[in-house]
């Protein structure tokens, strides 16, 4: 109970802070962000203690809200975990913003909405009835929309419009699903919904609605179209929050509804659409990312890819749980939840790094950057750590969640349904391809931005960012390493959550052949020890270096780079983002993006420049969104005449409608 009071007052203080900054815009930026960070840390501490305490459930009912329902809040293991995710990301983004926020041109457009955004996200996770959930969800959308619109460039208008439409769409889908679940009696509290037994049809429709609604907010293909427009447009610390944290809140919504509220009606075929959509999302996300040369848009598409990876874990958990294989379901769910946490860490790190670069150079286009590792060494190092983590390289944390996901894929032959047994390895192939392409994309992103030579004056004159930003990024990089070499602690912390969702658990992590080993299956048939591999790498690298320096040579001489005999001074002759991804564009882009390249070479002797044009078509817009938009336009233009009727005609319409409703009631009775 005490925890709920503390958290509740923190949330109230968020809104108070928002109102204060609205009324007094002169309030110190550092003060505002610092206060936000402090509040987030308090909630983080409470949530972490609740999570580690095991299966504690605290709920409270406030007398505000709908009559007979009130506003119910609840902390159980699942909420506690997602509160940890939300508040850790928010705290570190606030720390970053204490240094970065001074570059905001109109802070009055950002400061009031930032704490309310965080408060709304916390409220979504705490909500225990449909009304509170949807109210908080919409507040989350609105405040983040306001934050996106604070940017004053011309691309923001389209971003804002698309985001607004898609956010309304997702809320509508969730509204319908809650309406179906609550039934005719209007029992909107989650407790009542849990107790009711929805029919198979209802549960199936709820699955589709949740995939569309929560999936759109999370960034599932093809309803992800707002994400690469909106996330880059927001200020960098807000982008980190939107990508790293808000998408996870959407995942929370999906898991809460599918596993907790309608979990009793879960059947095996639910896994099929979830897995197919997840695999497509992962693959399409990374292919889109490879075609980008805007750093923040690239990172936004990678969020789409990682949401696909998380949903693969969720789909596997559904398949295993519906078949009664609870231990395997626990493994899959642990993998998914660990990836939720890991992704919030390294995606925030990468977005904060891109913010630092944006501030230092004023450029988001990586084709105008280069050589920043010399000018911004710490930022480069932390960005490198984030890139290595997202590429799933041992001994960092991305590898741990990927390894667990692969291990749960390898447990799939125990399933009973043939279609699942064939589908899951195919999804595994898509996952492996997405992971490998992600590594390629981050070699490109890091290599073109930070390595090489500076391609523009702005890159030449970049300077390192301030200490707040560096501390924030450093903390995130440290967490990435810690989870990578001490994964069993994280997995053990997830036990109550996983047990609540799947009624199964991973084996206790201390029975392994060595301390700190990660053991997915009880009979110890596969294991991974991040710490020992890290130690091996350090030892072997260190002894090799010592040996060579002592017994061979330490001499080093500096010279010009290799230029085939003629002086190559032009830094524009380096590989750009488009050149780096050209082989991949050739292999995959032709089918997926209808990629067409065209080179106009001037005739020999003419010293005009050659022109290279690359044309890509976004399949989500081209195949799905644009036809839908056109359909909507046709429908609205056909019904436009309804706007210009006479009064008599309007009265006739009302009369006809009333008569029709009465007929329906008569037939139904």
């Amino acid at each position: 109970m005490g925890i709920m009071v503390v958290i509740g007052s923190c949330l109230a203080l968020f809104f108070v802070l928002a109102i204060l900054t609205l009324l007094w815009p002169g309030i110190g930026l550092r003060l505002s962000y610092g206060a936000t960070m402090l509040l987030c840390l308090i909630i983080l501490f409470c949530a972490a203690s609740s999570l580690l305490a095991g299966n504690s459930i605290t709920s409270v009912m406030l007398p505000i809200g709908l009559p007979n329902v009130g506003m119910r809040l609840r902390i159980d293991a699942l909420s506690a975990f997602f509160l940890v995710v939300v508040n850790l990301g928010a705290a570190i983004s606030s720390l970053f913003a204490m240094g970065y926020g001074v570059h905001e041109k109109r802070p009055g457009r950002v400061l009031p909405f930032y704490p309310s955004f965080i408060a709304a996200m916390n409220l979504v996770v705490l909500a225990d009835d449909a009304f509170t959930f949807l109210l908080a969800w919409e507040t989350m959308s609105l405040t983040s929309w306001a934050l996106v619109m604070s940017n004053e460039e011309k691309e923001t208008q389209r971003a804002g419009l698309v985001y607004f439409v898609m956010a309304s769409f997702s809320a509508a889908m969730l509204l319908f699903s809650f309406g179906l679940l609550a039934g005719a009696g209007g029992a909107y509290g989650f407790d009542e919904i849990r107790a009711s037994n929805p029919s198979a049809w209802t549960a199936g429709i709820v699955l589709i609605l949740v995939l569309l609604g929560a999936g759109s907010k999370a960034g599932v293909f093809p309803v992800h179209v707002w994400l690469p427009l909106a996330h880059p447009a927001a200020p960098s610390h807000v982008s980190a929050l939107m990508s790293g944290v808000m998408t996870k809140v959407a995942i929370y919504g999906a898991i809460r509804i599918l596993f907790d509220l309608v979990g009793s009606a879960m059947v095996w075929w639910w896994a099929v659409p979830v897995l197919i959509v997840a695999g497509a999302t992962a693959l399409m996300g990374v292919l889109y990312a490879l075609m980008q040369h805007d750093l923040k848009r690239l990172l936004a598409y990678h969020t789409v890819e990682n949401i696909g990876i998380i949903l693969i874990g969720v789909g596997l958990a559904i398949a295993f749980r519906a078949n009664g294989l609870n231990a395997a379901a626990a493994l899959a769910m642990s993998a998914a939840l660990l990836h939720v946490f890991n992704h919030s860490l390294f995606k925030s790190l990468l977005f904060l790094g891109s913010g630092a670069v944006l501030h230092a150079t004023g450029e988001r286009d990586i084709d105008h950057l280069g050589g920043l590792i010399h000018k911004m060494p710490y930022t480069a190092f932390f960005f490198l750590a984030g890139s290595a983590a997202i590429s799933a390289l041992p001994p960092l944390n991305g590898f741990v969640s990927e390894w667990l996901t692969f291990q749960s894929i390898l447990a799939s032959p125990g399933l009973a349904q043939a279609s699942l047994k064939f589908l899951i390895p195919v999804i595994g192939v898509m996952l492996a391809l997405a992971a490998a392409l992600a590594a390629a994309c981050f070699v490109k992103a890091f290599g073109v931005t930070f390595l090489g030579r500076a391609r523009s004056q702005a890159a030449h004159e970049a300077k390192e960012t301030d200490n707040y930003s560096l501390t924030a990024m450093g903390l995130l990089a440290l967490f990435c390493l810690m989870i990578g070499i001490l994964p069993s602690f994280a997995v053990d912390a997830l036990r109550p959550v996983v047990g609540m969702l799947t009624s199964g658990t991973l084996p206790p992590q201390d029975i392994g052949p060595a301390p700190l080993t990660l053991i997915p299956f009880a009979n110890g048939r596969s294991s991974y020890n991040g710490m020992i591999i890290f130690i091996f790498l350090l030892l072997s690298g260190g002894t090799t270096a010592w040996f060579i320096h002592h017994f061979a040579s330490r001499a080093i001489r500096f010279g010009n780079l290799w230029d085939c005999g003629h002086r190559e001074d032009n830094p524009l002759a380096q590989y750009t983002a488009a050149s780096f991804s050209q082989p991949i564009r050739r292999v995959f882009g032709g089918q997926v993006f209808r990629a067409r390249e065209q080179v106009d070479m001037p005739p020999p002797g003419d010293s005009a420049a050659a022109v290279f044009k690359s044309r890509l078509v976004d399949p989500a817009w081209f195949l799905i969104m644009s036809p839908l938009a056109r359909l909507l336009e046709i429908a609205t233009s056909r019904t436009d005449f309804l706007q210009r009727l006479t009064i008599r005609r309007y009265l006739a319409l009302v009369f006809l409608w009333v008569v029709m409703l009465l007929i329906v009631v008569a037939i139904w009775n």
Partner: protein, 220 residues
């Protein structure tokens, strides 16, 4: 011994299937003809093995027919046609090779999921080979629709026939009459296609089927 028989027939049927995938991979016409010849030889081996296991003498004749006709005569004749008519020797594909091969894998899964529930009563031997044979038929069709070259469409059709023969041998007690009719239908098809190609060669300058549709005479 039962295990060894089953393993060998699976191995041989699987080899014919892998040759089907190899047909999807080839980019050159002569290589395509060679792979088709290898597929027919593997088919002959598979049918011969079935003949030995099922103690069915007439199947030896089918195997010999497959080996001689489809393994040697037809590929040789097609090779002569290609050389004499100086047909363009790289095969243009409609979809990329990777996508075609992945579609082939999808067809394999589809055939397995179709055949397995139906044929559960028929005994172990027939079921897997029937699934493989259905896949070979479907991949033969896939070769026909994803290639722009008339020769490769003939090869696709022939490999489809290979699949039919493999399916027929899996079922016990298939009389020779049916096999002879199958072989003759292949021959007739070959004649038809051959004449077609000669006609095409005379009137137009290429055996690229896509160019034919431009000459179709519809209002464009």
């Amino acid at each position: 011994m039962q295990g060894f028989n089953v393993d060998t027939s699976h191995f041989l049927a699987g080899a014919v299937l892998v040759c089907s995938f190899a047909l999807l991979y080839q980019a050159r016409l002569f290589a395509l003809l060679n792979v088709f010849a290898v597929q027919s030889m593997m088919l002959a081996l598979a049918v011969g093995w079935q003949a030995h296991v099922q103690q069915a003498g007439h199947l030896y004749i089918t195997a010999a027919l497959a080996l001689v006709m489809k393994g040697m005569i037809i590929p040789g004749a097609l090779r002569r046609i290609v050389q004499n008519m100086k047909i363009h020797r790289t095969i243009e594909t409609v979809v990329s090779v990777n996508l075609a091969m992945l579609a082939g894998v999808g067809l394999t899964i589809l055939s397995i999921m179709v055949v397995f529930p139906i044929a559960r009563m028929a005994g172990g031997l027939a079921r897997e080979d029937l699934a493989f044979a259905l896949t070979i038929i479907l991949i033969g069709m896939l070769v026909m629709i994803t290639r722009r070259n008339a020769i490769s469409q003939i090869i696709g059709f022939m490999s489809l026939e290979n699949g039919l023969i493999l399916a027929a041998t899996g079922a016990k007690g298939m009389p020779l009459v049916v096999e002879v009719s199958v072989a003759s239908s292949v021959l007739i098809a070959f004649f038809v296609f051959g004449i077609f190609i000669f006609r095409i060669r005379e009137h137009f300058d290429s055996v690229d089927v896509d160019q034919l549709s431009a000459k179709r005479g519809d209002v464009e």
